[in-house]
Symmetry: C2
Amino acid sequence: MSDPRIAAAAPLAGLRIVEISSFVAAPLAGMTLAQLGAEVIRVDPVGGAADRNRWPLTEDGTSIYWAGLNKGKRSFVADLRSPEGQHLVARLITGSGPQGGILLTNTTGRDWQGYNALARVRPDLIHLEITGRGDGSTGVDYTVNAATGFPLVTGPPGHRGPVNHVVPVWDIACGLYAALAITAAVRRREATGAGSRLAIPLEDVALATASNLGFLGEAQLTGTERPRVGNALYGSYGQDFTSADGVCFMLVTLTPRHFRDLVSVTDTAEVVSALATALDADFADEGTRYRHREVLTAVFAGWFRTHSAEEIAAALSDTSILWERYRTFGELATDPRVTANPLFTDLQQPGLGTYRAAGAPISVDGTYPPARVAPQLGQHTDAVLRDDLGLTDADIARLHDTAPGATKRTNR
Amino acid sequence: MSDPRIAAAAPLAGLRIVEISSFVAAPLAGMTLAQLGAEVIRVDPVGGAADRNRWPLTEDGTSIYWAGLNKGKRSFVADLRSPEGQHLVARLITGSGPQGGILLTNTTGRDWQGYNALARVRPDLIHLEITGRGDGSTGVDYTVNAATGFPLVTGPPGHRGPVNHVVPVWDIACGLYAALAITAAVRRREATGAGSRLAIPLEDVALATASNLGFLGEAQLTGTERPRVGNALYGSYGQDFTSADGVCFMLVTLTPRHFRDLVSVTDTAEVVSALATALDADFADEGTRYRHREVLTAVFAGWFRTHSAEEIAAALSDTSILWERYRTFGELATDPRVTANPLFTDLQQPGLGTYRAAGAPISVDGTYPPARVAPQLGQHTDAVLRDDLGLTDADIARLHDTAPGATKRTNR
C-alpha cells in the first residue's frame, strides 16, 4: 500500500491543477496547492492578466507581488479570446489522466471554462470558482471589507470614519478556503470517482468569518454595537505601550497568571490592589480587566515610559506575559525571524534577484520544504503544448506564426 | 467505485478527528473540517478551556464567541491532568478505525498527547500542532501581528504608532492552513497508509503572508519602507469618500474602464483631463493613478460631498466601478446579505436562542450546506465513553463518582 511517490512533505503529489487567475485569492490558492506538491499550471492571456505589473515593483518594473504569489507554478500563455486558445486550455483542464481534471479560477462568465462545458468532456471534473459576491455581482477585498462592520471598529478610538485593513484578509482566507475545498474534493473523488462543482464568493468568506467570531451574533442577540477600542483586545486585557525611547510594544494577558506577571513587572501591585478594592473588581476575571482597561493602562504606562525598549524586552522575557515589539517591514526583513528562520529560502528569482522568500508555513517532521521560484510569464507554454497537449513542433511553430502572440513563445 | 456515503457537500465524511483546542485558530480549523463532513470531537478540561467564557457574551453570560467557533462538533470533557483522563483521550485519538487517528491541537508541551506517545500506538497517526512561534515560544494573533510590519502601515496617514487589526487575521489564516494540511495528509494516508507529523507556528503564517504579498520582498529588494496611506489602495486607485449625509463609501478602480467610469459618474472629465496634461500623467496606468491619488481624490470628493448616499449608490450601480458603502455590524445583521443570504441558517442554538449563523462559505452545486449548532460543554461525553471507548454503564458511573468532575456528566 505504501506509495513512495507521495512524500509527507508533498501530500498532493500527482495532482495536476489548472489555474486561470489574477490578483490574490485564486493565485494564493494555486500556490498553496503547489507548495503541497501538486503540479499547478497558471494560465494567462497574452501579455499577462490585470495583475501582471502590480505593485510593489523593483526599480526596473518587475512585480515583486506577482513573484510572491506564483511561486512553484508552471506558466502557460494563450490567446483566451480566440476559439483555438480556449480549446487548448479546455483540453489542458480535461486531459491529463485521473489526477487531472481540476480547474481553479476567479474569472467567471466565460462559458468555455464553465463547469457545464468542461464536465461534458470530463465527468469527474473538480471545478472551483472564486467570485465576488454570492449574487454574482463584483467584489474585491477592500469593498467586501467595507460591507462588513470591521472598518468602523478598527483604528484609534477618536477616529471618525472607516479604517481599512492594509492586509487583504478576505483574499487570504478565500484563497485558503479554496485550496481546502479542492483538496477535500480530491479526497472524495479518489474514493468515489465523482467530481465537484464548487464556488466561493469572497464576500461570503468575510460574512462567515464575522459570524464565526461572534460579531454578527452579538449584533443580533444583544442589540449592542461593538465599540472602537483602538489597540485594546476586546473582552480581555491587551494593550500597546510606548517605551522611553519611543518603541511600541503589544502586551496581551489572557490568564490570571499573565496579569499577575504584568502587575509584578511594572511594580504596580499596591496601586492595582487598591484599585481592585475601590472598584470592587476581581482582575483575575478577563471581562473585568477589559471593563477597567483604561485605568489599568494608565497605571501600567508609567513603567513603560520610564524604561528603554531594551530594558522592557529583558524584563518581559522573564515573565509569562504574551508580548512583542512593533517593527517596520524593513526592520522585520533583517530580523532573525526572517534571516534565521527555516520557513525562508534564499531564492534566486529571475527578474528580481536573490531574496529570502517563504514557503508554506506547514512544517513536516520538523522541517520546512524549500520555497520554489515563480515562473517567467509563459515560460512553460511550449513544454505544455508538446508534453501535455501532444502538439508536434510543427503545430507549435504554426501557432506562433499564424497568430502572433496567440501563444507566448517561451522566454519572450 | 461509487461510495454514496461521501456526498459532494460532505467530502470529508467518515473521518474522525479529535481536537484539543482553545481560542481561534485550532477551533476554526476543527469547525471547518466538521463543515466539510468530518466528525470532530472537541476535548475540553473540566469546566472548559480558557476560551469558555470569551466575549462577546449574551446578557446571561453565554459565550457567543464559543458558539460561533464550535458549530457542528461533539464535546467531550475529561480531567486532562489525571492519568486516567489522559489515557481515555489518547485512546480516543488512536482508536476508531482507519479513518480515525487524527489529532488537531494548540496545546503543546504535554507528552501524553504528543506525536511520539500517540504514534507508538497508532503508526499512521496524523498529528497537527498549532504553535505560537517557530522556536516554540509563545505568540498570539495580536503579538504576532506586532512582529510583522502591518500595524505601522495601517490606519490614517497622520497617525503615530501602531494600529492593530480587530479581526484576528493570523488566527484565521492559521486555522485554514491547519484544516488544509490535515485534509492533504488524509489524502496521502488514504493512498499510502502513512501518517504525518505537522506543525504550524502562528507567527510563520504571518511571515509567510508578508512574504507572499511582496511586503518583505519590497523591503529586501528596494530598501524602501512601505508608507502609511490610510484607506487608499496601494499601487492602484482606491479610496474612501463621504456623502453629503455622512455615509462613507469605498471605491476601487483596478482597470482603465473602472477609472473612466469614475471620472464620468463624478462629472470631472475636464478637470481630470487637464490634470493629466499638466502632470504629464497617463491615468490608464495603475501606478500613475496611485502616485497622483491625493489630487485625484480631491477632485472626485466634491461630487460625493454634494450628493446623498442614496444618489451615490444609484449612480455607482450603473457603472463598472467596484464600490461598497461602509456599515456597522448592527446594520449588517439586518442587511439582505445576511437576512436573505443562503450562507446563513436560522440556527436554534441552545444557550443563545435563535440567530442567523453562517456555515462554510463553500457552495456545492450552487447550494450551501446548513450551519449546525454548537454543542453544550461535555454534551457528548457519556456517548463517546460508551460508543467510541467501549465503557460500560458501570464504568461510566464509576468515573463520575470516584472522580467528581473528572468527566462531565452529560447535560450538567
